[in-house]
């Protein structure tokens, strides 16, 4: 490949959100043909940069050239016309429309033609080229995540795509699917396509990409071939100061303590005559242990979380809590939900209120039904200090905090009441390395204090690093693995439904 031909050239791109810089003077050149990795941790500005390239966002300043031709910024259509296609981390699909309709919606040129022949031929071509048979008439929502990603990729390629942007494409995939994707990407690259591969996972990026760029806090720190840097150097550039990812030093071997929570033959069916989402779930968790539940997203994790948190009741089977004390008081339960905006926080309310959402009616904080705000303020000031929540005043709305600090509020509230049972679902999603380490460390500390923890987590590496035992959920059934006496790749196979 001639080194002179540039697929993409960005010149001093800057973007800030209400005064806070997200990208500062980024200048980037990507050679045509090949896989170029964009690395950086969460919040480094990778997605912002990609959105700018794809035309979804207009930068405050800067220029862009594609194949040597200047392209107006801030227009998706202009980007598309120059062959830029983007696959977003959260797919941009209309779930109840068919695969074909989704592609027509995004790529179609004319407003009245619903079945353009040229486009059909193009879809057919890419399906054969990539060897991905697609059923064009099924609703996208009924496809598994891996298949939806294929639809997205074909959508991005159709209409003369030359530059393909993949934003965190591996986040929701199992190890085997990642391998398949890597092969497909390599195929595309060898056919002359330029692929931008965004990732915050170092290992896979190094494996898949030939050249990389590293972003940190909105600045481009490095752009060049992978071979020039060692893995440690890349990691250091990405993260800055080195952060230890917490790790469980010794797994719990004891099984004699009574179980804190037991699920016995639990079935769950959301609609009366609909299909089961969970079948025959058997699960036990004891104090002083973390039970990790791995699985590809959409295999019943959210239903399982809803069952354990008590939001829904099982259709069959039973859920047994160990009640603490003779008064049969319910056990103290801490819940770190997947979507903190929907289930754990009230964004417009101040930090104080959010910290007291569980205990507002208890004795020191309320008397005769009246709130005692003095006690509220004192308590939350303590928690803010203890959990290192960065805020100006506790009266500020939670909406004004960053994602990491919001998650710290959830943790502070849920863990400060010394729960005996904790359910955490994807607790580190979207957090940067520092906040991730903080969350994992807090979970480990809670385990030390004797809590029983169920951790449903999509990030297999993190899950394995702090779990005593690991179960795998696949299509609504749960299988306990032999972890730690098994390998991550075997668990990955289980996640896909294969035999361990």
């Amino acid at each position: 490949m001639a080194a002179t031909s540039l697929a993409l050239k960005l010149t001093s791109i800057s973007k800030s959100f209400s005064g806070v810089p997200a990208l500062e003077d980024v200048t980037l050149e990507v050679a045509a043909g090949g896989v170029h990795g964009i690395l950086g941790e969460n919040g480094a500005g990778k997605t912002t940069l990609m959105n700018i390239i794809a035309g979804l966002m207009r930068p405050d300043s800067g220029r862009m050239e594609v194949m040597g031709v200047p392209v107006p910024l801030g227009s998706v259509r202009a980007g598309r016309a120059h062959g830029i296609g983007m696959v977003h981390q959260h797919f941009k699909l209309v779930e109840n429309q068919s695969v074909l309709d989704n592609i027509v919606l995004a790529v179609g040129k004319y407003i009245f033609s619903r079945r353009p022949r040229k486009l059909l031929r193009e879809i057919d071509y890419w399906c054969r080229e990539l060897n991905w048979p697609l059923d064009l008439d099924v609703p996208v929502g009924s496809l598994a995540v891996g298949r939806q990603q294929r639809v997205e990729i074909i959508k991005a390629l159709c209409g003369g795509g030359k530059i393909l942007i993949l934003d965190e494409p591996t986040a929701a995939l199992t190890p085997a699917e990642v391998d398949e994707l890597a092969a497909a990407v390599a195929g595309l690259a060898s056919a002359g396509m330029t692929v931008l591969f965004i990732s915050h996972k170092l290992v896979e990026a190094v494996r898949i990409c030939r050249t990389i760029s590293i972003l940190r806090r909105g600045k481009l720190l490095y752009s060049g071939t992978v071979a020039d840097l060692s893995v440690e150097q890349i990691a250091e550039k990405m993260v800055g100061a080195k952060v230890d990812v917490p790790r469980l030093t010794q797994t719990a071997g004891h099984t004699e303590t009574p179980p804190m929570l037991e699920l016995v033959d639990v079935d769950y069916r959301p609609a009366k005559r609909g299909p089961s989402v969970l079948t025959q779930i058997n699960l036990t968790v004891r104090s002083h242990e973390i039970l990790g539940i791995a699985g590809v997203d959409g295999n019943g994790q959210s239903a399982l979380a809803a069952l354990i948190s008590g939001a829904v009741n099982p259709t069959a089977g039973r859920i047994v809590h160990r009640s603490s004390g003779p008064g049969k008081a319910p056990i103290r339960f801490g819940y770190i939900p997947e979507d903190r905006h929907k289930e754990a926080l009230v964004l417009p309310l101040p930090i104080v209120s959010n910290l007291l959402l569980r205990s507002y009616h208890q004795r020191p904080f309320a008397r005769w039904g009246f709130c005692r705000f003095g006690a509220w303020r004192k308590h939350s000031a303590d928690l803010v200090r203890q959990y290192d929540i960065r805020c100006r005043r506790v009266e500020d709305a939670v909406a004004t905090l960053s994602g990491g600090n919001q998650q710290k509020i959830v943790l502070a509230r849920e863990l400060s009441q010394q729960p005996e049972l904790i359910l955490a679902v994807n607790p580190t999603r979207g957090l940067d390395v520092g906040a991730t380490a903080f969350v994992l460390r807090q979970l480990l500390e809670a385990r030390e204090r004797g809590a029983a923890i169920i951790l449903i987590h999509g990030d297999l590496d993190e899950l394995l690093s702090i779990s005593d035992r690991v179960a795998v959920i696949h299509r609504g059934t749960l299988a306990i693995t032999a972890w730690p006496d098994t390998t991550p790749s075997q668990i990955g196979r289980l996640m896909l439904g294969g035999a361990g």
Binding site: F17, S18, G19, V20, A22, G43, S309, A311, Y335, P337, K342, E343, A344, L345, V346, L347, P348, L349, P350, V352, S353, L357, R358, Y360, H361, A366, G369, F370, C371, F373, G374, W376, R390, R392, R393, E395, D396, A397, A399, T400, L401, S402, G403, N405
Partner: protein, 367 residues
């Protein structure tokens, strides 16, 4: 402690300051529009002001008109704050008045004013509350959106009232849908003689203050606030979401029903099915008061003055259509909504990935 309390009051006051600004702007616009339509602006403003507050009596009739607005405003405010979109204050208001008229012209208890007035007021409130519960029941157990069912129930209530007013409650010697006049001894007593200052106004003010205390200082108020802003979180925190929604709907409907009863016993003294647009206007009142009961008092007064002035302007030689007041209310709602939507967005946008946000606290951040 006292300082904190004053701080809270101050918060409510600042919330209204912005609203006052909006009002001034809209009023200026209205006078400008009037000028364009050929109504001399100075004369118009003069008439309007004199009609609303030019004399002791004008002042009292403005306040008396603000009274039902305050109650329907509280109905909307209490409900909206808890995320219950009760747009049915109109129907609840009518039913409240209907029950009150029944209890004061047909079923007077022992013919004792001391008994009849309270039962009529309470009966009106309960009727409004129950009418609201119908909608909440439909939402919870039949998944009919409360917005739609309350609107449709408004019409059902209207025809129900008409049927009653042409049936058992009809006045003798008339063919119109109209009730007989309530006997003078059952009228709400006046606290300033020869004006419209009836004790219903004090009752409504007391209720507003009570609701403010409940909203700001009790766990009940806190729970309803959380339920309104984020029912998912409220449920995950094991708050009794459904019960609170039903309770709020009852309180809201009862406020509107009480408004109807007070309007009947205090102001109009006989009932027709056209008792004014107080139910719909309540939404404007509540939004202008930023859903805060103390703010709602002020905005109800504002609209009371607006309405009364508009009616005087219509009676005058200028013949300005009083519907102008409704138009102003609608514009006020729209402006307030847009302001709220934009300020919320600004606050959130500023929060993106910044450890130390440079934004002032949001308007409604008083716990």
């Amino acid at each position: 402690m006292i300082k904190r309390f004053l701080h809270r009051v101050w918060n409510s006051v600042t919330a209204v300051a912005l609203a006052a600004l909006v009002c001034a702007g809209v009023l200026a616009l209205a006078v400008g529009a009037g000028a364009l339509l050929g109504y001399p602006p100075i004369h118009l403003a003069d008439l309007w002001l004199r009609g609303a507050a030019g004399s002791w009596y004008a002042l009292s009739s403005s306040c008396a008109d603000a009274c039902p607005l305050l109650l329907t405003g509280l109905a909307a405010g209490v409900a909206f704050r808890a995320g219950v979109l009760n747009i049915g204050a109109q129907g609840q208001f009518l039913l409240g008045a209907l029950v009150a008229v029944a209890l004061s012209t047909r079923m007077m208890i022992f013919h004792q004013a001391d008994l009849v007035i309270p039962t009529a007021l309470i009966g009106g409130a309960v009727a409004g509350g129950l009418w609201g519960l119908v909608a909440q029941y439909l939402e919870r157990y039949r998944s009919v959106p409360v917005v739609l069912s309350t609107i449709l129930l408004n019409f059902v209530a209207l025809y129900l009232a008409q049927a009653a007013l042409q049936g058992p409650l009809q006045a003798l010697g008339t063919a119109a849908a109209q009730s007989p006049e309530v006997a003078g001894k059952y009228w709400l007593p006046l606290f300033v003689p020869y004006t419209d200052f009836h004790i219903g106004i004090i009752l409504a003010l007391g209720l507003a203050v009570l609701l403010w205390v409940v909203q700001q200082h009790t766990t009940f108020g806190f729970e309803t606030r959380v339920v309104g802003l984020n029912p998912g979180t409220a449920k995950a925190m094991k708050m009794p979401v459904t019960i609170r929604q039903f309770q709020i709907m009852f309180i809201s409907g009862a406020c509107a029903g009480l408004g109807g009863a007070i309007q009947l016993l205090g102001q109009v003294h006989f009932m027709t099915a056209h008792m004014g647009n107080y139910g719909y206007a309540g939404i404007a009142v509540a939004l202008l008061g930023r859903l805060n009961p103390l703010g709602i008092i002020l905005s109800a007064l504002f609209f009371g003055f607006l309405d009364t002035g508009a009616f005087r302007a219509e009676e005058s030689s200028l013949a300005l259509p009083h519907d102008m007041a409704n138009v102003i209310k609608a514009v006020v709602i729209l402006v307030m909504l847009v302001l709220a939507g934009l300020s919320l967005r600004r606050a959130r946008r500023a929060g993106r990935d910044t450890p130390m946000p440079p934004t002032p606290p949001t308007q409604e951040s008083t716990l």
